[in-house]
Amino acid sequence: MAIKKIKKLGIANRGEVAFRIHVAAQELGIPTVLLHSEADIQSKAYRMCDETVCIGASPTNESYLNINRVIQGALSKGCDAIHPGFGFLSENAEFAQKCLDAGIQFVGPKPQAIQMMGDKISARQCAIQSGVPVVPGYDGEDQSPETLLKEAKKIGFPLIIKASNGGGGRGLKISKSEADFFDQLSSAKRESKSAFGSDKVFLEKYLDHAKHIEFQVFGDISGKVFHLYDRECSVQRRHQKIIEEAISPSLSKETRQKMADCAVKVAQEVGYISAGTVEFIYQDHEFYFMEMNTRLQVEHPVTECVTGLDLVKAQIKCAQGETLGWRQEDIKPHGHSIECRLYAEDPYQGGIPSVGLIGSCSFPEGPGRRFEVGFEKGDTITSFYDSMIAKVIVWDETREKTIDKMIKTLQSTVVFGVQTNIPYLIEILNHPEFRSGEMTTQFISKYFADALKPIELSEDEKAFAKLASQMSASSSAADPQAQNVNSPWNSYWRGI
């Protein structure tokens, strides 16, 4: 494939990742166009990208999820490539195809690979074909109780009995042992029949203390697939990752190598090009393929920190038809890295989003600290999108040191104007199970299901706040000019 330099890159995303993509493009000498919604004129990416074009109203289906508007926006500014970031249209095969049809290079894998991995059944089939373990299960046509019991014994207990056509937990039963199997089975079939009109069920091994471990892979234009080691993302709230780290504290050298080989095999099976992630469930030293994400990952910075590679630049180069010149044996993880997602939410009220105007923010720069910021002073967090303000990423020699560094970094991170989850993150980082590295995906529901206890202030801290507020009041009273924008005590609006 001939090298075809990108002349102008459209960024079909928002927040911190839009700015991240801009930086990568800038380093490669490619001008960027931010394809944004109405709400996002108050964001860092809007101010930093070379050009901007508003593609629609704030609701996502009128802008970021609207394929035609994104493509029209890109064409209107003469973009010859689009980076989809993550979320939104990044894993939409139709979008990738339509970009190509419009003569726009899609920064990511081929539409066929997106399609294949986007469908749970074909993804599972693909894993099985490449000899990669999947969660043991049975979804055959023979639904006689005897066959089901035979299959159940093969899978092992405990196991989940699920309605084949189901969803949302209805018709879902857990059988702990052979003794209660028929009871649970008939109850699952009954519920399934009444809820979904079919009593067909499937059986799956129940993993109740599993970890989420994923492998970063990268398919080079030459056809080689590299793995960039693993990340552990077991700290999740309602399937949303909160804290991620590279590499996982749980894998032995042998298991890591086995999993890496499996991840590469799955990617090769679909002729994968560009950055992708193969997700596994890991329990009791066994691992099972879960799914493949055919895009850049939110938590890609931790992999960049431990490998020293730049995934976004690699994606862009790949889209230009350039080979990366990597060698697998040169890619080695070094030290440890953790990412915390900083959300505008109230940890004292169970994580309710805290929308509104952001005041000053202070991110304490230092060696091995990286801040991926989406919003700055004067921007507004709206309720149209998720409320992530920034990602805080740190690197240090060992996991223990990295955790300590993250706590220190978060303690001196200041965001005014909206509540943040910083206190919540710090409690998690200090939790013995997290420190031990033994946390599973049950961690949050086990220990952090409730809102944090109200913040406790010492007498000194209260006195400090009181004095500061009195000083502020008297400074603006004594000096009427203090109402102007130069006063540090005033609020400000900008970007309108």
């Binding site: 309720s383 200041v414 202030l457 010492s458 706040a465 009181k466 609020s491």
Partner: protein
């Protein structure tokens, strides 16, 4: 953001403070919070005379489940679940009492501050 070094009870404390909108924000010893002086407390208390007999939607979003439709509730009981910004939130009773009326149903889009439940 103004950096402050203040003498508190004979000790030097460093921190930051800033007024954002109507609120006064303070950060000291790694703790960031909104500070309310007595006037602000009074003002906010008035603004929040949140009636404990009511449960309001704290943000715009979609009602995903009604956990209690009638009968007794005690403080902290989850009455309604809602979804906003891809996350799910549980709205709890602020007082003990009996459910008088549920003004929303599963699947409803609600606006911020919308009355959802009355308790008596």
């Amino acid at each position: 953001m103004k950096k402050l070094e203040l003498n508190i009870n004979g000790k030097k404390l460093k921190g930051f403070a800033e007024k954002v909108g109507k609120d006064f924000w303070v950060s000291v010893n790694g703790k960031t919070f909104k500070y309310e002086d007595s006037a602000a407390k009074k003002r906010n208390a008035k603004a929040n005379v949140s009636n404990p007999n009511q449960i309001l939607a704290p943000m715009p979003g979609k009602i995903t489940a009604i956990k209690k439709t009638s009968g007794q509730v005690t403080v902290g009981d989850v009455v309604i679940m809602m979804e906003a910004m891809k996350m799910e939130y549980s709205l709890k009773a602020n007082k003990d009492g009996k459910i008088k009326k549920i003004l929303a149903k599963e699947g409803d889009q609600v606006t911020q501050g919308q009355l959802l439940v009355e308790i008596e």
